[in-house]
C-alpha cells in the first residue's frame, strides 16, 4: 500500500523528517508513537501533500506509484484520507453538502457516476447507523460549533463515507474523554478491512487499547527508531519516551515489520 524510503522533509525551511522509512501493507493497522516534535503530524501532512511541507529527499510510493507527483486533491481521490488533529470549521457550509461534494469529486475522478441527493442521503443514513452517530451533525455547518468529540466523530464519519484505501488518523484521541475515545475507536474498528490500511498517529498508548495495531513504530527526531508489536506501546507507556533516549530499546527490528 505505502512505502516510504529515506524521507527528508522540511517545514518552513526547518528539517523535520530526517530519513524516515516505513512500509505499510494492505489491511494493516500501524501505530506511530513518539514524543512531541518528533515529526508525527508532519508525516501525515507530507503524505497528504499539504502546502509548506517540502520533501527534500527520499521517495513515497503509494500502490506502487510515485505519490509525491500528485496534487493534494488527487491524492485524496486516489484514496488517501487524513483525519485531522484539529478539524477545520467552514462556517455556513452544510456538513452534508460538503461531504457530498467531496464524495462526488472523488467519484468523478474515478470515472464513476455522481450520486444525487437521494442516493447520497441513503448512503449517509447507512453509515450513521453503523457508527451510531445521530444525524444532528449532518444538519449543521462543517465542524462549526462542534465539541471536540463531535469533530473527531465527524472525521471518522467522513472516512466511512469516502471509504479510503489508506487512512491516517492524526492524534484522533487528543482532547477526547474516555467515552468519546471508545466511540471513535469503535468506529475505526468497524472500518478495518483487508483492503484498507490505517496509520494511527498518537502520543498516548490508551487509544491502542481500543484500536489494536499490527505494528507499532516509534518516531523520534524525524526517524523511525524502533518497531515492534502492540507490546512496544505498553512498554513505552510504562517507561516514557526518555527510555528511548537512554538506549533502552533495541535498534530497528526488520522482522517485526511483517
Amino acid at each position: 500500500m505505502l512505502e516510504i524510503k529515506n524521507l527528508h522533509a522540511t517545514v518552513g525551511g526547518k528539517p523535520i523528517l530526517k530519513g524516515l522509512n516505513l512500509k505499510v501493507s494492505d489491511g494493516e493497522v500501524h501505530a506511530i508513537m513518539g514524543p512531541n516534535g518528533a515529526g508525527k503530524s508532519t508525516l501525515g501532512n507530507v503524505i497528504a501533500g499539504r502546502d509548506g511541507y517540502d520533501v527534500t529527499a527520499g521517495e513515497v510510493l503509494y500502490k506502487g506509484a510515485d505519490l509525491l507527483q500528485l496534487e493534494p486533491e488527487e491524492r485524496a481521490c486516489e484514496g488517501i484520507f487524513l483525519a485531522f488533529q484539529y478539524p477545520v470549521e467552514i462556517p455556513g457550509v452544510n456538513n452534508t453538502y460538503f461531504l457530498r461534494a467531496a464524495l462526488n469529486a472523488q467519484r468523478k475522478y474515478r470515472g464513476e457516476p455522481e450520486l444525487d441527493s437521494m442516493q447520497f442521503l441513503k448512503l449517509v443514513r447507512e453509515k450513521l447507523h453503523i457508527l451510531h452517530i445521530s444525524d444532528d451533525l449532518m444538519h449543521r455547518a462543517v465542524n462549526e460549533g462542534f465539541s471536540g468529540g463531535e469533530k473527531k466523530r465527524n472525521e471518522i464519519f467522513q472516512m466511512a463515507v469516502l471509504e479510503p484505501s489508506l487512512a491516517i488518523l492524526d492524534e484522533t484521541d487528543s482532547g477526547l474523554d474516555i467515552d468519546a475515545l471508545r466511540l471513535v475507536a469503535e468506529g475505526v474498528n468497524r472500518l478495518r478491512s483487508e483492503d484498507r490500511s490505517i496509520i494511527v498517529v498518537t502520543h498516548y498508548q490508551r487509544l491502542l487499547d481500543h484500536i489494536v495495531p499490527d505494528v507499532v513504530h516509534v518516531l523520534a527526531d524525524g526517524k523511525i527508531v524502533a518497531s515492534g508489536d502492540a507490546d512496544l506501546a505498553l512498554k513505552l507507556e510504562e517507561k516514557g519516551y526518555t527510555w528511548l533516549e537512554q538506549g533502552g530499546i533495541q535498534p530497528l527490528n526488520e522482522e517485526a515489520r511483517v
Partner: protein
C-alpha cells in the same frame, strides 16, 4: 395558387413581411447628445427635451446651484483620480437600433461565454448584450404581461419620465423628501441632471402581486448614468423590488451617480434587492465604472419596514450606503450586504441606521470579500436620537481576505443619545484559511470549488435574504468573479 389570391389574403406571409418593411423604414428622431460640460443651459435643455413641467426644471436648477458650492466627498477609503465634471456629456439619447448589434452573432463572444456561465436565459441574452430591440421580442412580451397584471392590482410601475407625465402630483409630493437635493455632492449632481429611472407606487393595503424588477421594465435598457428611483408604499402595502442583474451590463459611461428614495408609510414594507455587476476595469484597474450611489429609505409610518439587500461585485469604485431613517415608532430597518473586490477594485460601502421613533429596531449584516489587490471598507453609522426610547441595533460585520495583496477595513460609527438604547456590534476578519483550503483539498474537492464553497458559506446570511432565483444567480456570479483569485 394564383397570384391574386395571395395579394387578397391579408394574413398571408407576403403581406405580413411587406407591412413590417413599411414600419421598419419609418425614420425616428436621430439620437442627440449635448456637448460635454454643465451649466444652467444644459439643464434647461435636458428638461425641455423631456418636456418636463416648470416646477421640475426649477427643482433641477436649485439642485445645480447648490452643487456648485459643494465638493466631492473625500472621507471614503478610496483612491480616486479627480473627476473633470466639465468633460462629461450630461445627456445622450439612447443609441438608435441601427447602431446596435443586429443579432447575438455580432456580440463579443467573451460576453456570451459569461452569460453561459451565469445561466442567463437565452431570451434575455440579446437584450443584455444591447442587441436592437426589434430583435428581442421575448422580453417585450414578458414586460407587457407583467404590466397588465400590475395595473389590475393598482400598482404603478413605470419609468421616471412617464411618472412625471402621468402622475405629476405623486412625483412632486415625494421627490427629494428622502434624499434632499443638497444631501451630498453626488445626490445634488443627480438631482440636477438625472436622466431617467424607475417609479413605483403601491396603493394602500395592496400586496404587490409579483417581484418588480428593472430587468423586465420596458425601455429600461438605457436609463443612463444618472438614474433616479422613487418607490412609495402606502399604508399596509408590500413590495419587493429587484435592481440590476447578475449579467455584466455594458455601459460607455464611466461615472454613475444614482439616487434611490424609498418611502414606507404606516405598516408598509419595502424589500429592495440589488445585484450590481458593472464593468470593474481590467486587471490593472484601467477603465471600469465609478459608482457613487445615494440610497435611502424612510420608514415614515409606524411599524413600517425597509430592508436593503445588496450583492456588489462590479465597478472599479463603489461608494454606496443604503440607509434607513426609522422615523415611525416600532419601525424596522435592515441591511444585508455582500461586497466583493478583486484585482484593483475599491469599495467603500455600508449603511446608516437613524433611529428616531420609539422602539425602532435595525439589523446590519455586512460581508466584505477582498481578493487580488482589492480594497474593501465597511462604513456604518448607527445613530439613536434622544426620543428613540428602547431602540435596538445589531451589527455584524465580517471580512474575508483571499490572498495577500488585498485589504479589509471597518469604520463603525455609533452615536447614542438615549440611555435605553441597546446597540451591539460584532466584527471579524478572516483570511480564507490555508487550513480551510487544505481541508477541502484533502477531501478531494478542487481548489476552485473549495473557494466558491467557502465564500458561499461566508455569504449565506445575506443570500438567504435574496429572492430564490436571484440568490442562485448571485452565487454563480461570485464564482465567476473569483475565478483565478486563488492559486
Amino acid at each position: 395558387m394564383s397570384n391574386e389570391q395571395t395579394k387578397a389574403d391579408p394574413s398571408s406571409v407576403d403581406h405580413f413581411v411587406q407591412q413590417k418593411y413599411q414600419h421598419g423604414f419609418v425614420t425616428e428622431i436621430e439620437s442627440e447628445t449635448v456637448p460635454p460640460g454643465l451649466d444652467e443651459n444644459v439643464i434647461r435643455w435636458i428638461s425641455a427635451r423631456k418636456e418636463e413641467p416648470g416646477w421640475l426644471l426649477e427643482w433641477r436648477l436649485d439642485a445645480y446651484r447648490q452643487w456648485l458650492n459643494m465638493t466631492p466627498p473625500d472621507w471614503a477609503h478610496l483612491e480616486i483620480d479627480p473627476i473633470d465634471f466639465q468633460a462629461i456629456s450630461y445627456f445622450s439619447a439612447p443609441k438608435s437600433d441601427k447602431d446596435k448589434p443586429q443579432s447575438l452573432d455580432e456580440v463579443d463572444p467573451k460576453l456570451l461565454e459569461t452569460y453561459d456561465k451565469l445561466g442567463v436565459p437565452l431570451h434575455e441574452r440579446a437584450r443584455l448584450a444591447g442587441v436592437a430591440v426589434d430583435a428581442v421580442f421575448d422580453s417585450i412580451s414578458i414586460g407587457t404581461t407583467f404590466r397588465d397584471e400590475l395595473m389590475k392590482a393598482g400598482v404603478i410601475f413605470c419609468s421616471f419620465s412617464e411618472a412625471v407625465k402621468d402622475h405629476p402630483e405623486l412625483v412632486r409630493k415625494y421627490l427629494g423628501t428622502v434624499v434632499p437635493s443638497r444631501d451630498n455632492f453626488f445626490a445634488a449632481l443627480n438631482s440636477a441632471v438625472f436622466s431617467d429611472g424607475s417609479f413605483v407606487f403601491i396603493p394602500r393595503g395592496v400586496r404587490c402581486p409579483m417581484e418588480l424588477s428593472t430587468y423586465f421594465r420596458i425601455n429600461a435598457a438605457e436609463t443612463g448614468q444618472f438614474e433616479r428611483t422613487l418607490i412609495i408604499a402606502e399604508d399596509s402595502s408590500y413590495v419587493s423590488y429587484l435592481e440590476g442583474c447578475t449579467a455584466p451590463m455594458r455601459d460607455e459611461n464611466q461615472l454613475h451617480a444614482a439616487v434611490v428614495e424609498l418611502v414606507a408609510l404606516e405598516q408598509a414594507e419595502i424589500k429592495y434587492s440589488t445585484v450590481q455587476n458593472w464593468y470593474p476595469g481590467d486587471e490593472n484597474g484601467v477603465g471600469g465604472i465609478y459608482n457613487f450611489v445615494t440610497k435611502r429609505g424612510d420608514c415614515r409610518g409606524a411599524r413600517s419596514k425597509i430592508s436593503w439587500t445588496q450583492v456588489e461585485t462590479g465597478s472599479a469604485i463603489t461608494w454606496k450606503y443604503p440607509s434607513c431613517v426609522l422615523r415611525g415608532d416600532h419601525s424596522v430597518g435592515e441591511f444585508y450586504s455582500v461586497a466583493l473586490t478583486n484585482n484593483c477594485q475599491q469599495a467603500d460601502t455600508g449603511t446608516k441606521m437613524i433611529h428616531i421613533g420609539r422602539e425602532t429596531r435595525s439589523k446590519i449584516i455586512s460581508k466584505g470579500i477582498s481578493a487580488g489587490r482589492g480594497q474593501n471598507a465597511y462604513r456604518g453609522l448607527v445613530r439613536v436620537a434622544k426620543k428613540a426610547d428602547k431602540a435596538r441595533n445589531f451589527t455584524q460585520c465580517d471580512s474575508m481576505l483571499i490572498g495577500k495583496g488585498c485589504g479589509a477595513h471597518t469604520f463603525p460609527y455609533i452615536e447614542v443619545s438615549n440611555p435605553s438604547a441597546k446597540v451591539e456590534h460584532e466584527a471579524t476578519t478572516s483570511r480564507i484559511g490555508e487550513d480551510q483550503m487544505f481541508y477541502c483539498l484533502q477531501r478531494g474537492i478542487s481548489e476552485e470549488d473549495a473557494v466558491s464553497m467557502i465564500v458561499d458559506g461566508f455569504c449565506k446570511q445575506v443570500f438567504r435574504e435574496l429572492p430564490m432565483e436571484f440568490a442562485v444567480e448571485a452565487k454563480a456570479l461570485l464564482e465567476v468573479r473569483l475565478e483565478g483569485a486563488v492559486g
